[in-house]
């Protein structure tokens, strides 16, 4: 069990944050810390726009950083469960990134 950091890019819509937080509780995971901000500068996320063929506009998406203490197998489950939420566009931990259906073996966020 080690502390890990998850980074999410998600739609800035009412209820989206509640879905992520609720999922942690539902599945029995604990949140150590949580930070959320709307994204103003999309330069670091241009690869998401290219990869998913979408275009972000100001105020549309947020960046969410969650710290949690879990083992490897559970971490993968958390990533996959969160990736399944409709309003989540991308999620990464230290080793991998999900861009919706696409899995990359590195932290891109």
């Amino acid at each position: 069990m080690i502390e890990r950091q998850l980074t999410l890019i998600m739609e800035n819509k009412p209820g989206a944050l509640a879905r992520v937080v609720g999922l942690f509780h539902q599945r029995g995971y604990n949140i150590d810390s949580l930070h959320v901000d709307p994204i103003d500068d999309f330069t670091p996320y241009k690869f998401i726009e290219d990869e998913l063929n979408i275009k972000f506009a100001k105020g549309e998406v947020s960046r969410l950083v969650i710290k949690t203490t879990v083992g490897d197998k559970l971490m993968r489950q958390i990533l996959r469960q969160i990736n399944k939420l409709i309003e989540v566009i991308a999620i990464s931990d230290d080793e991998s990134t999900y861009l919706k259906g696409i899995l990359r073996d590195e932290n891109l966020l």
Partner: protein
Amino acid sequence: MKLAGNDILIQSLINEEVEYIFGYPGGAALHIYDSIFKQKEMQHILVRHEQGATHAADGYARATGKPGVVMVTSGPGATNAITGIATAFMDSIPMVVISGQVQSHLIGTDAFQETDMIGISRPIVKHSFTVDHQTNIAQIVKEAFHIATSGRQGPVVIDIPKDITNPDDLFDFQYPSKANIRSYNPPIDPDKSQIGRVVDAILNSKQPVIYAGGGTISSNASEELRELNSYINVPVTNTLMGLGVYPATDEKFLGMLGMHGTYQANMAMHNADLILAIGARFDDRITNTPEKFSPKAQIVHFDVDHSSVSKIIEADIAVFGQVKNSLQAINSLIKDRLDEINNFEIDKWHAQIAEWKKIHGLNHNLYKEESDNNPILPQAVVQHVYHASHGKAFVTSDVGQHQMFTAQYYHFDEPRKWINSGGLGTMGFGLPSAMGVKLAYPDEEVICITGEGSIQMCIQELSTCSQYKLPIKIFNINNLALGMVKQWQDMNYDGRYSSISYEDSLPDFKSLVESYGHIGIKITKNSELKQGIQKAFSIKDKLVFVDIYVDPNEHVYPMLVAPNGSLKDMWLSKGNKT
């Protein structure tokens, strides 16, 4: 075209080719119900309780593959729908639930019949929407149907405040042709390199088993599965949710696996060297103790949901995508390499399975003689129903012993014929889901096999059946107690029967159903059984409720030994363990 919010909502449903809306009106949904009144394309089915509406829509969806649609009002209407939404969620059934909400300016004020439907339903929906403006209704409905019916299917809730459906405010309406959701793209086609690995694994295996579940049915992949096995000829087992996807009367079929699976199915899974898990999720009722699950097997897992794979059992090869597409890809590759199949080893494997079948086949030595000296066996009821309906009926069930007996003894040859609450295990599901099936297929035989405990959880829907003239056949396997709980109390609590009995207060079901205008038949003796069931099937135009008193002490076997057991550890009869 300019329309008010209520008409936009209803026109959107018509655009989605909805046939039936299952629902119950109320204050916050009144504008919507006025729109329903004004149209002719869809029929609204007025249930007697919102739980019945969700189960009926669920039954419709399972039988047809099309999404079920539910309409409820705010507050208690919404909360009553929750059990049915959770049932659909656990079994990945496409459903769109529209709930009325109090007016926007009253939200958060504890207004009359206000409840936070989005909050209450959040853990049990695939997605949910709050409608904040009339101009968003059409897009939201489009997206809701798209989400409910694609990827791993599931229920979607649309919560719509009353002022948004106000008939006086008109807005432009044009139904969108596509749902564009940039943050949603479930996998469809499999990765080709993975398909190659799977084909190699199949050709190298000596003791392969196909383990197919409900995902194979929701992906409409029954034909592809049958085609695959026409090439590779391996034993097939189905989960409770998967029954019918492979013909039960095929000699390669092992029966259901898991908690109450057949001896041969569980033994084959335990001893396999390759498990092809197709649209199945290694539920705890399947694996028993996960650490002891199939010690030798290489696991190939086909699923549309990333989070299902390696959740309980680590997959050696994962194939993401619609199961139908993945199986098509396997089929087109493997049919040119059939000479590589190790027929000698596969034949040996079938011979081993034939030996297991002899040890505890479901039909061997189980039945006492059908004379009036012996009580009616619940298994015999299912067998008689199976024969009388020629194995072709749609069969719904509730939850408990009768459900397991039906899964074991009604041999389903086609997908979507077996309709039951597998994941959530919802008592009260059987009757309303049968209504949904009967509405979808009015000319087909629709049977509900239930128990005297379960049927009383949604018995008010007998009235709905009367109103819409739904000639369902209900077989009530009446053992005067909550049979499955009683079985566990027998096996694990030294027969201390805590709160399982209501023997003196059961209704006379025959006169109860007759008061709704249905036909009741009561059977208490073996000598009346076959004839009584045949009589029920001879009545075509009315609902028939057959109340059958069975042996109150019968248990469901085989049953996995838990905790700490593996799939080869089973109770085969009372006091007799493997």
